[in-house]
């Protein structure tokens, strides 16, 4: 079977769901012209009613997605780059996350907000955000951050069929990752289920989004040094599959969380706290975080690139953990 990219997995998922359910429609800025390749030929195929270019008005059209969802539509909102969610914070947090709750279950908001995380390529601080953790602090939003084309397709399809609002964070460092994709139109990966990307015995590396492929590379290198790594990909951040994480750490006794987000209150922080609270007795050392430090992302490539989690930093953390000694922060 031919392999397909992460980007094309997004396109396929949307195309299949647009075909399956006439209530599904898309809106966002410049989607008709198909900037990233996730809406190829959609305008021709589904028409401009269902594939809508919007004004540059995130708070407006993301809020409109909520209204449309409440009256029976199933919008897929393409917010392009995740930094552009910030102007729509009001609608996402106060309307989308809370409407079902404050109206005592009277509202249903089946909508998906997609955005890519466009970091690591000299786009400077305002275009390089990985903001899922900010939204994890808001109850009422499901959050997915797949790392492979396979997961992307199955999870995006599940998100579109889900009756709750889902934020889909698409890591642009994964865009060209390829998988074999099932063409079963009902191929779905349930939200809230993590995945063991590689089994191992010595250390659990719980990696998020674009950190997963890096963790897998680090695992291969560490295996050569005789350290056996298990790589856990939560895939969904809300609801978080705490069980798969805790079970893995209970087995290995060591944990590193890897997350491209800034360190403070990152997904890695939440995962670390979960481990410490639940499997403290099994731990042979501290839970380490490999994240992006709490500074902004500079434009100049030489000083931008080393800020993100990379193979060397993960390997260093792993070696540190295998030392029986108590360690300082990675």
């Amino acid at each position: 079977m031919a392999k397909t990219t992460f980007l094309d997995a997004i396109r396929q998922a949307q195309e299949e769901e647009l075909e399956r359910d006439e209530k599904v429609f898309m809106m966002g800025e410049d989607i008709v012209c198909n900037v990233f390749g996730t809406t190829t030929d959609f305008a021709e195929k589904f028409g401009l009613e269902r594939v809508r270019d919007t004004p540059i008005s995130e708070n407006g059209f993301i809020g409109a997605g909520a209204g449309a969802a409440m009256v029976g539509m199933r919008p897929i909102i393409d917010a392009t780059i995740s930094s552009f969610l910030f102007p729509a914070m009001d609608q996402i947090v106060s309307i989308i996350a809370k409407s079902r709750y404050i109206y005592g279950g009277q509202a249903k908001l089946p909508l998906v907000i997609r955005s890519c995380m466009f970091y690591g390529n000299s786009n400077a601080a305002q275009h390089s955000d990985r903001p899922y953790a900010m939204f994890m602090n808001v109850p009422g939003l499901k959050i997915i951050a797949p790392s492979s084309a396979y997961d992307m397709k199955g999870m995006l399809k599940a998100a579109i069929r889900d009756d709750d609002p889902v934020l889909c964070f698409e890591d642009s460092t994964c865009w060209m990752n390829k998988s074999e994709l099932p063409d079963d139109p009902d191929f779905l990966i349930p939200l809230g289920k993590g995945d063991i990307k590689k089994e191992g015995n010595d250390i659990s590396i719980i990696a998020v989004a674009g950190a997963v492929p890096i963790a897998l590379k680090a695992a291969a290198k560490l295996e050569e040094e005789g350290i056996s790594i298990e790589v856990v990909d939560p895939r969904t951040l809300v609801p978080l599959d705490r069980e798969i994480i805790c079970n893995s750490v209970r087995k290995t006794g060591r944990a590193i969380t890897v997350d491209p987000a800034h360190q403070t209150c990152s997904a890695a922080s939440e995962i670390s706290a979960t481990i410490v609270e639940n499997v403290f007795d099994a731990l042979k050392g501290p839970v380490l975080r490999v994240t992006t430090p709490d500074t902004h992302l500079p434009f100049s490539p030489d000083i931008e690139k080393p800020l993100y989690p990379n193979v060397d930093r993960i390997c260093a953390a792993a070696r540190q953990l295998m030392d029986a000694r108590q360690t300082v922060s990675a």
């Binding site: 009613e49 407006g60 009256v71 539509m73 249903k108 009422g140």
Partner: protein, 332 residues
């Protein structure tokens, strides 16, 4: 319209305005005694704006409102019991006790929320109008918001979107002269808020918000226009709130300049009652309506008082379709 149907409709307008006024008067008094927790923003004085607007809609038309939420659902025909129970935080409340005074939203009468973030309902209404348009249902979505909300970006983004997509939306700006303590002139550089609509090439009306017939006529025309696919309409209702921004705060935050006497002299209920009587409606019949409503409101309060409070685990439902876990320490 036959004379009989017109009479019924006129009486219904009076009935709904009475329902709002008496509901608000009672709510304010029990709030003063501590029976209603939280802030209470009442709609007294603005009844004609809500009732005139909603009477112009179809039952299945959508409506989005704001923090001053009590009048909107009553105007659209909601039953009082679940509304009063909500104010008291009861399980039988329209929002199961999770919304309270700022969120009296009854989806069974077409409401899609009463949102307390100023201006935030406008994009939602635009989206509901989009959904109605895409599904070809012929429904319109009406959004109530205040003068204060016209300075929020969300309101402008929602109006722009509705205008550029020619959505069947009606934006009813209830200009009650103040946003909390701020006179409209200190917040907005135009005299008529309907001028805001010009930037979106949007049809607009300015109406006497104390005259329920005038509001109804404007919104009827707006609804017909919007429903026929010509695009959204902005309706500014010039009105006045009698109570402070929120009641029982100890001091009036509203820097009134004596205008309250003029406005109260044009009370929407009195104006309408006089008009009905002039047109030959029997005053005794209107008295009967008033006492029936008094009974309804008293019944709603009794129902609310007799109702149970929600259980702790209900704080964990409706976050998503499936409940979220409740921590063990709350289970006791």
């Amino acid at each position: 319209m036959s004379q009989n149907r017109k009479n019924d409709r006129d009486l219904e307008k009076y009935r709904r305005m009475q329902r709002i006024r008496q509901f608000e008067d009672l709510a304010e008094s029990i709030h003063a005694q501590g029976e209603i927790p939280g802030a209470l923003h009442t709609y007294a004085g603005m009844e004609a704006s809500g009732v005139g607007s909603c009477m112009a809609l179809r039952d299945d038309d959508y409506m989005v409102g704001n923090h001053r939420s009590h009048g909107h659902p009553i105007a659209k025909g909601a039953k009082l019991r679940p509304l009063m129970a909500e104010l008291l935080g009861k399980k039988t409340g329209v929002c199961s006790g999770k919304g309270g005074s700022m969120h009296l939203s009854d989806f069974s009468v077409g409401s899609l929320g009463e949102t307390s973030i100023v201006g935030s309902g406008v994009p939602v209404a635009a989206g509901a109008a989009l959904g109605a348009k895409m599904q070809g249902t012929g429904q319109v979505a009406l959004c109530f918001f205040g003068d204060g909300a016209t300075s929020e970006g969300a309101a402008h983004e929602g109006m722009n979107l509705a205008a550029v997509w020619k959505l069947p939306a009606i934006f009813v700006c209830e200009n009650n002269l103040y946003g909390m303590s701020t006179p409209v002139a200190n917040a907005v550089p135009v005299k008529d808020l309907a001028d805001r609509a010009k930037a979106y090439a949007m049809k607009s009306f300015i109406v006497d918000g104390q005259d329920v017939d005038a509001v109804e006529a404007a919104v009827l025309e707006a609804a017909e226009y919007a429903r026929s696919g010509q695009g959204p309409v902005f309706v500014e209702t010039k009105t006045y709130r009698y109570a402070d921004h929120a009641v029982n705060m100890g001091r009036d935050l509203t820097p009134r300049g004596g205008e309250e006497h003029e406005w109260k002299a044009r009370d929407p209920l009195t104006l309408y009652r006089d008009r009905l009587e002039e047109a030959g409606v029997d005053g005794a019949m209107l008295d009967t309506i008033e006492s029936e409503i008094a009974d309804e409101v008293a019944d709603a309060l009794k129902f609310a008082r007799d109702s149970e409070y929600p259980q702790q685990h209900e704080a964990f439902t409706d976050v998503f379709v499936d409940p979220v876990p409740m921590p063990a320490y709350l289970r006791a």
